[in-house]
């Protein structure tokens, strides 16, 4: 192996370990790792920039602007209170409805944004009903990861895969992943009821308190809401038709975001740009450059060759290996760097003679997204909810989550294995 490849592997492993250890912020570490690849001459700056996927970044930035502006209108609070009333104030029904809303929102917004919107409303409703919010939060974490699996824009691994493989369009993601995501949610609902029904009981009087609430007053800015809804609708239409329009998904999201800012006026511009999670954006930039070091030195090609040797290039074995490896790995490490590494590996498998890569891409997406449910550190949304819950005096323990999340994650991966096998491999 060449000296540069050894350096690239060394930097990658050290950076990866530091990201997992969470001693220093992952964005700083990823950026330093990416810069080391350039400074040490493993990749030149021009090549590094070519490896930064601006489609992923543009899509994230565009959606963050649209969602943060929409959140100001009170729309998400309105939906949650309406759901609580539809559930007649019954805690278990509210738990199910909020988890379904979380899954649906996560399919079209990113998971972290979804939980940031839904968790505060959950605290509010559970406080009024005087029930423990933790069962609600656990089911919302799980639902956000399942919902995010369904579309190209639902979860960062899907955004990255969709961006790296142009033929996997927004519609292709929905057609291939939404059915299995819906199936997993349908299977999960009875488990949620069984696990939590007895833990969240309340009185008739408190239920009536929820039923008497007036949700209309939660809409703080109806004019802005109308504008946001029009732009959200147009943006979603753009995603559905982006292939026909010959537009990348980032172009659609950014067009939606800046059209909205045009409608709201420039006084919203600064506020909207501050709401963009720049730490996440730079984390991606660092990772793309970090992985480029492995790609350019041939390390990824070697790994792909070994994977093919291991499975004999058999599509069933390779798909299952990717699905289960992605799920188990994503349960314990951040799925974003994992997917950033796996994408070039699968592309390399294509150039090594694996003719049909489609089942492999769907296996990677399913494993990486659903695997995030395995542990409390499996996905960013899990950590965000745990952080919010802890800060408000309702800590979610690692083992407490593991007991619920890990079996449900395994169940979803079994369902996905059967789905991938039946749909693509026979």
């Amino acid at each position: 192996m060449e000296q540069q490849a050894i350096w690239a592997i060394g930097i990658f492993l050290v950076i990866y370990a530091l990201i997992i250890s969470e001693k220093i912020h992952r964005t700083i570490i990823a950026m330093i790792g990416g810069l080391l690849m350039v400074v040490l001459g493993i990749v030149d700056q021009e090549t590094a920039i070519h490896h930064i996927d601006f489609n992923t970044l543009g899509l994230l930035i565009g959606m963050m602007i649209i969602v943060s502006t929409t959140a100001e209108t009170g729309m998400f609070k309105y939906i949650a209170v309406l759901a609580a009333k539809k559930a007649k104030g019954e805690p278990i029904r509210i738990l199910i409805l909020l988890s379904l809303i979380t899954a649906a929102c996560s399919a079209f917004l990113d998971n972290v944004t979804t939980v940031l919107l839904i968790v505060p409303v959950t605290f509010s409703i559970t406080r009024q009903l005087r029930v423990d919010p933790v069962p609600f939060l656990l089911t919302q974490i799980i639902a956000s990861n399942v919902g995010g699996t369904a579309t190209l824009i639902g979860d960062p691994p899907n955004i990255m895969i969709g961006s790296a493989v142009p033929e996997l369009t927004f519609m292709a993601f929905i057609a291939n992943l939404a059915p299995v995501a819906i199936l997993v949610m349908v299977v999960y609902v009875p488990f949620f009821i069984w696990m939590f029904r007895k833990k969240i009981q309340t009185t008739e009087e408190l239920k009536q308190g929820v039923m008497a609430m007036s949700e209309k007053e939660l809409i703080s800015d109806p004019k802005l809401l109308r504008k946001c809804l029009i732009i959200l609708g147009l943006t979603l239409l753009g995603f559905f038709t982006h292939q026909m329009l010959h537009l990348e998904s980032a172009t659609v999201a950014l067009a939606g975001a800046f059209l909205l800012l045009l409608l709201t006026g420039e006084h919203k511009l600064e506020q909207a740009l501050t709401k963009v999670e720049w730490m996440t954006i730079f984390f991606f930039v660092g990772l793309f450059v970090l992985v480029s070091g492995l790609v350019e030195t041939g390390v990824i090609a070697q790994l792909a060759k070994r994977a093919i040797d291991l499975t004999g290039g058999d599509p069933i074995a390779t798909s299952m290996l990717i699905l289960w490896l992605s799920a188990i790995a994503s349960a314990f490490i951040d799925n974003i760097p994992f997917v950033a590494t796996m994408i070039p590996m699968i592309q390399e498998m294509g150039s090594m003679g694996v003719s049909d890569l489609e089942p492999l891409w769907w296996s990677l997406a399913l494993g990486a997204c659903l695997g995030g449910n395995g542990t409390l550190i499996g996905a960013s949304a899990n950590l965000i909810v745990a952080g919010m819950a802890g800060k408000e005096g309702h800590p979610i323990r690692f083992v407490q989550y593991l007991k619920v999340g890990f079996p449900l994650m395994l169940l979803s991966v079994v369902i996905s294995s059967v789905y991938v096998y039946l749909r693509y491999l026979i």
């Binding site: 605290f123 009024q128 308190g209």
Partner: protein, 96 residues
Amino acid sequence: MLNYGYDEAALRISESANENDVEFRIVLAADDPSIIAGLKRVRQEFDENRVYTDVLFYHYPDHEYKIIVRKDYYVDFVLELMKQRLLQSVEWTADR
């Protein structure tokens, strides 16, 4: 203890202790937009900070609000009502 006074023609306030919370019921006079705007600003103040369970607002018809205030935010809440001129006076009494 904190005592407060308010214009009884413009609003009615009742409060009750409940475990770690204090629950307020506030009913505003419908014909006074400044009072309604004032309570909105109180809500905005607590919505915009980074604590999600400090002061929770629940809207009911006819300008009635239930507000659940965490005990450690009781003073902040009452002072915010004062700041927005929903209260006319606030004073400490000797038993604290």
